[in-house]
């Protein structure tokens, strides 16, 4: 498959479910004329509690589905999948650029920190495979990184529990161990899961206003723009791009929960359900 030169092709954006819609928002804002196709693996969501082997396999199946439909660039919007699957997918599909959100998030945190102490909150899986820790230390060996899993935030975000006194108490309790583990030193906190920006206001209140919160969505959109520029694939069209939605489970819940993550309303008619579980992993 050779897609080089076809700037009209969509950018493929892959996520475990709805959280990646925050990345889709940022890409649309930055590059409104690009066509986009979003794939949410809602039949197997969440990835954050699954093993690296399973997540890598799921990412390979999702990439295959998107690349078969022809895309010009692949964005892994899910932090957990970005943490393990960018390299394997880039090897499988050398003809298109594969980008994750961990690299851009690490970049942003390295730029944001002044006192050289960075914190990361993410899913169990992302924290335990040290993806952010390694990515940050590769960029700046002079910083310290402390990371902690906050799995409960995913459920809070999806249930629409985004603010208020009770949510603040929950967030406070979840972040206690991070603070205890040198987290009180940090001046920068990476929101290393696409769900966490929904709780940004409360996380900021709990961490204090001196701690900068890094959400990789905007930085990823910037990296996508650069990636397209470098390969001469920016869409030169002056009309707004199309957005297509693919899901692996029924669209009902996707439509309902998407409201917490996506700026525009998505209608059932815009969504197509596909099956990717039977895919082998080879291209």
């Amino acid at each position: 498959m050779n897609v080089v030169g076809d700037s009209d092709l969509p950018i493929g954006v892959f996520d475990s479910g709805v959280g990646g819609l925050t990345v889709l928002n940022a890409i649309r804002e930055k590059l409104p004329n690009e066509n986009l196709v979003y794939l949410g693996d809602t039949a197997r969501v969440p990835y954050g509690t699954k093993s690296a082997v399973s997540v890598t396999r799921y990412a390979e199946q999702a990439a295959k589905a998107l690349i078969e439909r022809k895309i010009k660039l692949l964005v892994i919007a899910c932090n957990t999948a970005s943490a393990v699957a960018v390299e394997p997918l880039q090897k499988l599909y050398p003809q298109i650029k594969v980008m994750g959100v961990v690299g851009p998030g690490a970049d942003a945190s390295c730029q944001a920190t002044k006192n050289k102490h960075i914190g990361v909150i993410a899913t169990e899986s992302t924290v335990s495979n040290q993806a952010y820790q390694n990515a940050i230390l590769e960029r700046r060996s002079d910083v310290s990184v402390v990371a902690y899993p906050c799995s409960l935030f995913v459920a809070l975000a999806e249930e629409g529990w985004h603010e208020g006194a009770l949510v603040q108490q929950i967030v406070d309790k979840c972040l206690e161990p991070l603070k205890a583990e040198n987290g009180s030193l940090i001046d920068t906190l990476v929101l290393g899961c696409t769900h966490f920006p929904a709780l940004k206001k409360v996380i900021s209140e709990v961490m204090g206003e001196d701690v900068a919160l890094v959400d990789s969505a905007a930085t990823t959109a910037h990296a996508v723009e650069n990636g397209l520029k470098e390969s001469g694939l920016l869409n030169k069209s002056i009309s707004p791009g199309n957005v297509e939605f693919l899901v692996t489970d029924g669209p009902e819940r996707f439509v309902r929960v998407a409201k917490h993550f996506f700026k525009d309303e998505i209608s059932m008619a815009e969504i197509q359900q596909i099956d990717i579980q039977h895919f082998g992993n080879a291209p």
Copy 2:
């Protein structure tokens, strides 16, 4: 396949993940000499936010995996899967008895209520397909049933947030809509998800001591015993039965989270990982 008459064969117990271990506990307690094989579909957990079509398909794949290994009876320990898959699986596999937890839970609640007002809390999927509501009204047309989803309880149970003032506040907020919707009348509340018994103490404090909590694990174990008796398949051995564990994702998280649900320690060596996602649905 004909397994009739082979009482040494294990009972197959299928769940979306770890929650069904509460049902396994109850079966082991009631029938200590039975061999048991437990399958947790940890690669796709949770089921409670997935569509009925996907959950039915997953249950068919899990049943196929267990039945290929030869079992004498199949228990669907997951409420969400029980709600949709008992009938399709019984049709696919007429040679063995297929049992869910919804029927036994409905039985228990119909026996427990005195004032004829029953409440049900469960996952989104179980509530929206009206499984408990229908099962209860089939048994007693003279009762009223009110059901409400409490998806957040799954995350709390898995994270080990089982008691304390903060958990009580969360549970209180989750149950508010149930109480508002005639739930204040109920004298019986079905814990319609295997995760919820982990929060039993707090749920009881919030609902008040006059509300009986129904956990279908014990009733299901009783129904399993009856099912085996009826078909002459009770294991007559006097030595304790074996328990075998199968999972569809890596065993690490299963071992860790199982502590909140299973009475005994499970070691990594006892667990085998299998792949069921590639299975077609036919027997």
